[in-house]
Amino acid sequence: MVRVIARLLPGPSLMFAAGLIAKGYAEVGDGFAAGVIVALAVALAYVALGAAGAEAALPALRHAPKAAVGGLLLALASGFFPLLLGDPPVTHRPGPGEHVTTIGTLELFTPLLFDLGVFLLVIGVLTVLLHHLARSREEAAR
């Protein structure tokens, strides 16, 4: 039972996370919370299936380091780019009060990129951590 849930949970958790990011600027939620929710699903997979099992069931987990680094770069880039335009770092575009393109409740502006970066970073780092802690225990047991 737990194993089945562990296998299936990451899908819905991703949906839920996407929702959290989308409504993040009007209501509760942000990239970090979304990342933690997905990471919890991943953690359940690691606990239920073990490192090797979890990575066989969810091959995407092997790309966790890339997600972490990519997310970090994305977050840093969206924070740093205003410097090139002569504004202080972490200024956002379009600025306060300007028109923001929206898709439903999703607002397209640069903090969204920052949140996506944080989201990827959180998932990536937590998965890498889980991977190392889970694998080393299995190695020790052997």
Partner: protein
């Protein structure tokens, strides 16, 4: 600050401190987790208020303070990083020393040092018995 929060923070800190005094490294990790959570609870308690989000509020409406959430979140992330580092260290210590008890850690360390000292002594004696300074390959 509400009494319940104050008590919660105090209990968390107290249990954490109690665990920190234990011999077992894993328990100390748990203690650190509890103590850092007590800090987060304090931050939340410091400014808890319910109301609308602080963006675009009509005058006279109750506004919830947006800061504590951000602060608590940051403190949580830092706590997470601390615990991750702590677990990695404990894991490494267990692999190297083959124990997670502080007493035993100290004992293996002392043994290791004594072993090194004996080896140094042996080196010195070997050299003294071999005055040309030519060492066996």
């Amino acid at each position: 600050m509400i009494l319940a929060f104050a008590v919660a923070a105090a209990v968390l800190f107290g249990s954490g401190a109690y665990l920190l005094l234990k011999q077992d490294l894993i328990r100390m990790v748990a203690g650190i987790i509890l103590i850092s959570q007590s800090g987060v609870v304090t931050i939340i308690a410091a400014s808890l208020s319910r109301g609308r989000a602080a963006i675009d509020v009509a005058p006279g409406e109750r506004v919830s303070d947006p800061l504590p959430q951000a602060l608590a979140l940051t403190a949580l992330v830092i706590g997470l990083a601390t615990v991750a580092l702590l677990l990695a260290l404990v894991h490494r210590a267990i692999v190297v020393f083959r124990t997670a008890e502080q007493d035993e850690l100290a004992a293996t360390e002392a043994e290791h040092e004594a072993g090194l000292e004996r080896r140094r002594q042996a080196d010195r004696e070997e050299i003294e018995s071999d005055p040309d300074g030519e060492r066996a390959p």
